[in-house]
C-alpha cells in the first residue's frame, strides 16, 4: 500500500495501516507532539488507531512548535 506521508510516497507492507502506524514508521516519539491531517482533514488524537488508511491516502503530521521568546 502506498501512502503519501508529508509529501513523500511511502510503501507499507502491512495489510492494515492506521495513523498510529504511520507515526511509528516516521519515528514520531509521541502522538502528543503532532497534529495530523488525512487528505487535508483534521484527525483527532483519539482516532489515530481507528483511522484506517486507504491506498493513495495523504497523511500530514505537523509538529507542535512552541518556541519564540524566552
Amino acid at each position: 500500500m502506498q501512502i503519501t506521508v508529508n509529501g513523500e510516497a511511502k510503501d507499507f507492507a502491512e495489510d492494515q495501516v492506521n495513523v498510529s502506524l504511520v507515526l511509528a514508521h516516521q519515528k514520531v516519539e509521541s502522538p502528543d507532539m503532532v497534529a495530523v491531517q488525512v487528505n487535508g482533514a483534521f484527525v483527532d488524537k483519539g482516532e489515530f488507531d481507528s483511522r484506517v488508511l486507504q491506498d493513495g491516502d495523504s497523511v500530514e503530521f505537523l509538529y507542535f512548535m512552541g518556541g519564540g521568546a524566552v
Binding site: G7, Q37, G40, L62, Y63, F64, G67, G68, V70
Partner: protein
C-alpha cells in the same frame, strides 16, 4: 503624507520597488503592528519593522533580559541584561528609525487583558514562547478579527502561517488544542540554533509588510516549515476546518481561556 528628502532617501530601496512605491510605503507608515514577545522572533521582527518605517509598533513582554537570551534575541545587548525587554527593544527600534512610534506593554497577556491590547492594532505578530499564549493570541485575534502571523521555532526547525480570521484557516484548524504539558519541549529545554530565530522572525516581518502593501501571496492556508540542518523548506497546504472549535460552523470556544502554563526552565 509628505515625505522629507531624508525620509525619501531612507525608504528609497522600498520606494524603488514597483510593488511598493510611495503608495506602499505610505501604507507601511500608517500601519499599526503589535509584536507579542520581545524575544527570539520578536527581536528581528521589531528591528526590521522599525527599519521599514511601520508607523506604530506595539511590543508586549513581561520579562527582563537574561544573559542566555543574547545568543538569539538580537534586540538586546550585553549591557541590557536585567533590563525590561520592552524598554531594551524600544531603544534599538527608535535608534534605527526615529520615525517609528513604539508603544511598550510590559505585561503578560492573559484572557482577561489580551482583547483590549490587540484591539488597538491592525496586525499581530506572534513571537511567544509557549502554547498557552500562542492559542490565546490565535483565539483573541480570531474573535477580534485581527490578522496575525503565527511563528514557532525549536532546535533547528521553524514554522509559520498567516491567519486572516474568517477568511483563512486559523491555528486551531490544524493544531486543535495545546499539547499536554511537557509533551513538547520548549527552546529552553531543548535548545535552538540562534539564527533560526532570525530566519523565522524575518519571514514573519516580511509577511506583515506584504499584508499592508497588499502584494504577493500571504502564507494563508499554508504552513511553511523548515529544517535548517538540511535547509529544506516545505509548504503544507491547509484549509479551514468546519470542525474547528473556534472558527468552524459550530464553535465551542466562545470565550478566551488561560491554559495552564508549563514550568519553563530557563537555565
Amino acid at each position: 503624507m509628505n515625505y522629507s528628502a531624508e525620509q525619501l532617501e531612507r525608504y528609497s530601496r522600498h520606494i524603488i520597488l514597483q510593488e511598493v512605491g510611495v503608495e506602499g510605503q505610505e501604507k507601511i507608515g500608517a500601519a499599526r503592528v503589535l509584536i507579542v514577545g520581545a524575544g527570539g522572533l520578536g527581536s528581528p521582527a521589531a528591528l526590521y519593522l522599525a527599519a521599514a518605517g511601520v508607523g506604530t509598533i506595539g511590543i508586549v513582554d513581561g520579562d527582563v533580559v537574561d544573559l542566555s537570551n543574547l545568543q538569539r534575541q538580537i534586540a538586546h545587548y550585553t549591557k541590557d541584561v536585567g533590563r525590561e525587554k520592552v524598554l531594551s527593544a524600544e531603544e534599538k527600534m527608535v535608534a534605527i528609525n526615529p520615525d517609528v512610534k513604539v508603544q511598550t506593554h510590559r505585561m503578560l497577556l492573559k484572557a482577561a487583558n489580551i482583547r483590549e491590547v490587540i484591539r488597538d492594532y491592525d496586525f499581530v505578530l506572534d513571537g511567544t514562547d509557549n502554547f498557552p499564549t500562542k492559542f490565546l493570541v490565535n483565539d483573541a485575534c480570531v474573535m477580534e478579527n485581527i490578522p496575525f502571523s503565527h511563528g514557532g521555532i525549536l532546535r533547528f526547525d521553524g514554522q509559520t502561517m498567516t491567519v486572516l480570521p474568517g477568511r483563512s484557516s486559523c491555528y486551531r484548524c490544524t493544531f486543535r488544542q495545546p499539547p499536554p504539558p511537557d509533551a513538547v519541549p520548549t527552546c529552553s529545554q531543548a535548545g535552538v540554533l540562534g539564527a533560526i530565530a532570525g530566519m523565522l522572525g524575518t519571514i514573519q516581518a516580511a509577511e506583515t509588510l506584504k499584508y499592508f502593501i497588499g502584494t504577493g501571496e500571504l502564507l494563508t492556508d499554508t504552513l511553511l516549515s523548515f529544517n535548517a540542518l538540511n535547509m529544506t523548506f516545505r509548504r503544507v497546504p491547509l484549509r479551514r476546518q468546519d470542525s474547528c472549535p473556534l472558527c468552524g460552523s459550530k464553535p465551542t470556544i466562545t470565550e478566551l481561556v488561560d491554559y495552564e502554563q508549563t514550568a519553563c526552565v530557563i537555565k
